[in-house]
């Protein structure tokens, strides 16, 4: 679906500025309300770091010049119900990913178009047409902290179960601050994603510095080979599936989340309890989708999933 959004990320800016308030706080609030109206699950705003802009685009390598001052990030949940049913690397896996990319991209394109109609430059960035690196933008916009899952940002309420799109603009906005909800301590104690990763791409070790960023190292080649070449499913999101932060937004999990955000001891208990309570396992009785594989334009039932049989 995101393919249809590839060419609508940018456009003509209205020659006359609309009669709107000049107060950045009100404008930020307005843009966030617009994003939630369009069904975003979380929104954050930050200054656009210059290092978050790619040097060259894919696939043709054109040089990228992007001097917008602000970045608006839009997150879309990949759906808890589906996440609880899947094993993370079966046939629905890539749909969860790309439908969130599509939805966030759709919202970003509408917001960018709206801002241009107000008379300010704006460009959407989504999975099929990026000019920016998303993770540092999410960190600065207060939408999460870096987690053990390779170069991914984890949201305090959605966990890693989201995809993001971004709008860059010169509309004067008030920015959010980064957040601290104890995730560095939590991921240091938990390595469930590394333990369950079918490709062995995630690390059990501590954080390292790479290109000026502190992060948990990941073998990107192993991860990509698994997601691109998975013979028993479409893509892979096992790390997202098994992460203890991947939970529904129920009163119980909200209470646990509050404790985990405020107490190191609660984090230690939560890491162990997640396994003891059986979280992270697939629930085939909740599977609503049909396992189907496209072979040269014809849909067929895939061969049985051996891993799934083992785990159930």
């Amino acid at each position: 679906m995101t393919a249809y959004l590839r060419d609508v990320v940018n456009g003509i800016v209205a020659t006359q500025k609309a009669p709107i308030p000049e107060d950045p706080e009100r404008l930020s609030r307005h843009i966030k309300e617009l994003a939630y109206f369009l069904r975003a699950d979380a929104v954050g705003i930050c200054k656009l770091p210059s290092y978050a802009v790619y040097t060259n685009s894919f696939p043709n390598g054109e040089s990228i010049e992007l001097n917008h001052e602000y970045a608006i990030s839009v997150l879309i949940d990949q759906d808890w119900r589906t996440s609880s049913a899947t094993m993370g690397n079966d046939w629905i896996s890539n749909s969860m990913s790309f439908l969130s990319y599509s939805t966030s991209g759709f919202i970003a394109c509408i917001i960018a178009d709206y801002i241009r109609r107000l008379g300010y430059p704006a460009r959407a960035h989504h999975a099929r047409n990026y000019q920016v690196v998303v993770p540092p933008i999410l960190l600065w916009a207060g939408l999460g902290e870096m987690c053990r899952i390779g170069d991914c940002v984890l949201h305090p309420f959605l966990g890693p179960r989201f995809k993001a799109a971004v709008v860059t603009t010169d509309l004067p906005l008030a920015v959010d601050k980064p957040i601290d909800f104890g995730l560095q301590d939590f991921c240091s104690k938990c390595a469930k994603c590394a333990r369950e990763c079918p490709s062995g791409a995630l690390s059990f070790s501590g954080k390292v510095m790479y290109n000026g960023y502190e992060h948990w190292p990941t073998d990107i080649e192993k991860c990509t080979k698994m997601r691109v070449g998975n013979p028993r499913g479409s893509g892979c999101g096992t790390c997202i599936k098994v992460c203890p932060a991947n939970k529904p937004y129920t009163p119980f999990h909200r209470a646990v989340g509050w404790a985990v955000r405020h107490s190191s001891m609660a984090r230690s208990i939560a890491v162990r309890a997640d396994d003891l309570l059986g979280y992270g396992k697939p629930k085939p009785e909740k599977q609503w989708w049909f396992d189907l594989e496209d072979v040269d334009g014809v849909l067929r039932i895939p061969a049985p999933n051996i891993d799934s049989e083992d785990k159930n």
């Binding site: 540092p136 960190l139 000026g212 040269d296």
Partner: protein
């Protein structure tokens, strides 16, 4: 300001989170080098940097992104 503008409008109670001046993982702003989008994992796979077997779409089992129907873009109408 009207009551409409005072209401909590966000899905999650993000206003209750602890806010800090910088991200909790170190970023050396003056050391981070901008990167080339062509060097991302998926884009390397597309051009075959990870081997022929991992080229996206090479065969039915390795299409990755598009081998499940609800991931594929709709076919345009001809009617």
């Amino acid at each position: 300001m009207s009551g409409y503008h005072k209401r909590e409008f966000e899905t999650f109670p993000v206003h209750k989170l602890k806010r800090v001046q910088r991200p909790t993982t170190l970023i050396l702003d003056d050391k981070v080098q901008r990167v080339d989008e062509r060097e991302s994992g998926f884009n390397k796979a597309v051009r075959g940097d990870y081997g022929d077997e991992e080229i996206m779409g090479k065969n039915s089992r390795q299409k990755g992104n598009d081998s499940f129907p609800s991931t594929q873009p709709p076919v345009p109408s001809h009617g």
